[in-house]
């Protein structure tokens, strides 16, 4: 099986510096959004999906594991957070914490089952597990089935930050995104990340070097799921609802699409991909059915023409690591 990504560039101080510069530019650009007149809800939503795609990318781009069920983390954390805020009337910080913790637990349970499987069987078992969860959420009374959990109170973060004010909410979501992003970045460049990459490149070799590869993969899987869950918890505050859409397999497909468009295994790719796809859904909505067709065309052309994704192709062109 050939590798999914080809970041053959070694991790050098220069590459690190490049990445930090891009990150700084990104952070500044995002920070000034509220002053530009760009609609903040759109950016917030895109940020949540960007974090989700980054979490997913951690698994596939660096662990070589294609999960076709990542929506289950998004949805689970969303439902738990929504329920905690609305029914238990917990403050936002606790809601996020419980939601993310639920995703982590789910990651542990499903990871334990799925991680031993290879390649396509891993994708299929994650798909099956997420379908099971979909069914559970459809049946469980607390999710309110098709109607979803609606009208979730946003509350005051830490008792002071009024999240019903769009600007405040925006900076909270942005802070969450940046924190999650940095955590992923740090993980990739840690010794743990290096082992992960070596497993992706050649698992038998990593085993022969004495690494317990299953444990590494499980850890990466849980981390990815937890961060995806964190994104799901944040999204609750933006959308103010939690619904079955977020657990459906087509959502898992969308996550793959975002990451693929941006570039598998690139650091900034998933962010770009998420913004592109969310913007498309927003601004092409008037085309009705053609949106599906356009999405399909993007899939096809990504696979056939620029397999590295937008950012991956750019990085390749500039011979930089992005």
């Amino acid at each position: 099986m050939s590798a999914l990504t080809d970041d053959t560039l070694p991790m050098t101080p220069r590459a690190m510096r490049d990445e930090m510069i891009v990150f700084a530019i990104l952070a500044v650009l995002l920070a000034i959004v509220p002053f530009t007149g760009i609609y903040p809800f759109f950016v917030m939503q895109a940020l949540c999906f960007a974090l989700l795609a980054c979490a997913f990318n951690l698994l596939i781009g660096y662990g070589g594991l294609l999960s076709f069920g990542h929506a289950m983390f998004l949805g689970t954390a969303g439902y738990v957070t929504a329920h905690a805020l609305k029914v238990w009337a917990l403050p936002p910080e606790l809601g996020i914490l419980i939601g993310t913790a639920a995703a982590a637990l789910l990651g542990l349970a499903t990871g334990y089952v799925s991680i031993k499987r290879q390649g396509i069987y891993f994708s299929m078992i994650t798909l099956a597990l997420s379908q099971l969860l979909y069914f559970i959420y459809l049946q469980a009374p607390f999710t309110h089935g098709e109607d979803g959990i609606q009208g979730i109170p946003q509350g005051h973060l830490l008792g002071i930050l009024d999240l019903s004010k769009p600007t405040v909410l925006y900076y909270v979501v942005l802070a969450g995104f940046l924190a999650g992003f940095l955590l992923i970045y740090r993980t990739i460049n840690s010794p743990f990340g290096e082992v992960l990459k070596s497993i992706r490149e050649n698992e038998p070799r990593a085993i022969s070097l004495g690494y317990k590869t299953d444990q590494y993969k499980l850890l990466a899987y849980i981390l990815s799921g937890t961060l995806a869950g964190f994104a799901g918890s944040l999204k609750v505050f933006v959308a103010q609802n939690a619904s079955l859409t977020d657990v459906h397999w087509s959502m898992s497909g969308e996550i793959v699409l975002m990451t693929l468009v941006g570039g598998l295994g690139t650091i900034f790719g998933p962010v770009v991909g998420a913004f592109v796809i969310i913007a498309m859904q927003q601004y092409l909505a008037g085309f009705g059915q053609w949106v599906t067709v356009i999405q399909g065309v993007i899939f096809v052309s990504c696979v056939l023409l620029f397999r590295r994704g937008l950012v991956g192709e750019l990085a390749h062109l500039l011979r930089r690591s992005l």
Partner: protein
């Protein structure tokens, strides 16, 4: 008890569709190493071709059974020539994503022109009505579906496992270079195989047209379940997917009786269980 016989039979009927579809998927995966996400869309196209043949050309159901698979098969071969063949040697993921994209395009185009509610297709006159079996009323058409698909499945199995041509095919997937050395045109064989798999999907589409509405999304709802069938049966295994297809139909039938809410989900429970016990499916080889 009578009710159970009825459910068993109804399960077999649904199983025929699963078997036909998963058989096509298995053939394609076995020969091309591609997980064909577009299978559901091609199944839908089969049903639509039957509809057009009848309503625009006045061509009957019986001819549609022959013509639709050929037309859709040709369409499939064009897809393979223009797109899929470029993915040889790449990770499975890319084949999956590419065909997923193709499925979106095909479904989107059909939705745009034909809406979502679907079009009616009548049961052919010769197969109308039903017989009372004592424990249930069996529509003749349903009986026909079971028998016909069983015959098609076995014929396909025979073609691939027992004939000279099938032997070439199987050899070509194991070692394309060697087979090429024998003077066999491997790419053409692969294209034809994809056409065959796709044709089977279209055939299932024609068979289902009189039972379900002819809808652009009829395949999208089904494809995930059929994937599960293929995975349970073991990717690429011909007999495995036929047997699993029918078996799953029956299991689903019983679920519809005892716990109907879960009937769409039972297949995934099975899939998780099977993969836990036998990582490569019931009869599969390593991916």
């Amino acid at each position: 008890m009578q009710a159970l016989y009825a459910q068993l039979l109804v399960g077999l009927i649904n199983g025929s569709f699963y078997a036909l579809l998963s058989l096509g998927l298995a053939v394609i995966f076995g020969m091309l190493n591609i997980i064909n996400f577009a299978h559901g869309a091609l199944y839908m196209m089969g049903a639509f071709v039957a509809y057009f043949l009848l309503n625009l050309g006045g061509i009957s159901y019986w001819w549609a059974l022959l013509i639709a698979p050929i037309l859709v098969g040709i369409f499939g071969m064009i897809l393979e020539r223009t797109m899929l063949q470029w993915l040889t040697g790449l990770d499975h993921l890319y084949g999956l994503l590419l065909t997923f994209g193709i499925a979106l395009i095909v479904q989107g185009v059909f939705q745009n022109y034909f809406g979502s509610s679907g079009l009616p297709y009548a049961i052919p006159d010769q197969l109308k009505g039903g017989v009372n079996l004592g424990f249930m009323f069996l529509p003749i058409y349903r009986g026909w579906v079971v028998i016909f698909s069983l015959v098609v499945c076995l014929a396909t199995w025979f073609l691939i496992e027992k004939t000279q041509l099938g032997a070439y095919l199987r050899a070509a997937t194991e070692n394309p270079t060697l087979v090429r050395a024998f003077g066999i045109n491997v790419p053409r064989m692969i294209t034809l195989t994809y056409g065959l798999g796709v044709g089977l999907a279209a055939l299932a589409g024609v068979l289902s047209a009189p039972i379900n509405q002819v809808r652009p999304l009829m395949g999208a709802d089904l494809i995930i379940v059929v994937f599960a069938v293929v995975v349970i049966g073991g990717m690429g295994s011909i007999m495995g997917s036929i047997i699993t297809g029918f078996a799953l139909g029956v299991i689903e039938g019983f679920t519809k009786y005892y716990y109907p809410e879960a009937s769409n989900t039972v297949v995934f429970v099975l899939m998780v269980l099977v993969l836990l016990v036998k990582p490569t499916g019931l009869t599969g080889r390593a991916a």
